[in-house]
Symmetry: C2
């Protein structure tokens, strides 16, 4: 049987939400070095991805994502130090929350109808 | 300045998600004794509320919400013992997670651009 899981939405301010979608996008950019590759693997349009990045970049002291010009790929993107800090901070927050929630989530799971398979 | 907050989505199973919307609906029913009053105060249609309730009722061993017939109000609704347990369990999970996440969330907040006001 699958493990129960939690996901987290952090409202840093009324207008600044950090949740699974934006964080997966940051992670994709870190891993692929490209906004289009990161958005494609999430099934998200480039336009939507760029909108989310601009929103994040505007909310923090430093941008989280910067476009890199030139090089063989001719214009990839990468996380700044602040981008790394936000991504890693979210993942740590999520891990702490999941650990703290585990026993209650387990208790909630016992109330589910047993699977038929 | 506002406090940062987290909200939690618990995936008890692939097909059973418990998040802020469903939980607010359960809470509204507990407080108002009525599905229509609970959905109205959330700006949710009765049809949508009833769909969410049916989904929840089918996922757990016992229904979470039952309609009460008769009485002066002529047909309200209330939480069952399982409904109370799920609502209270979610709130406890959320509180544990928020407490565990607090210092990391605080650290993330320091990366935000200062407000102009």
């Amino acid at each position: 049987m699958d493990e129960a899981r939690i996901s987290l939405r952090i409202e840093l301010r009324a207008d600044t939400l950090l949740g699974p979608g934006k964080v997966a996008l940051l992670e994709g950019i870190r891993e692929t070095g490209s906004i289009s590759a990161a958005s494609r693997r999430m099934g998200m349009s480039y336009k939507r991805a760029w909108y989310l990045i601009e929103t994040l970049n505007a909310a923090f002291r430093e941008p989280l994502v910067e476009k890199s010009k030139g090089g063989k790929a001719g214009g990839g993107a990468r996380l700044t130090a602040t981008g790394d800090a936000v991504l890693d901070g979210y993942r740590r927050t999520e891990a702490s929350a999941a650990k703290a929630a585990a026993s209650e989530v387990e208790r909630l799971s016992t109330l589910l109808k047993p699977r038929e398979d």
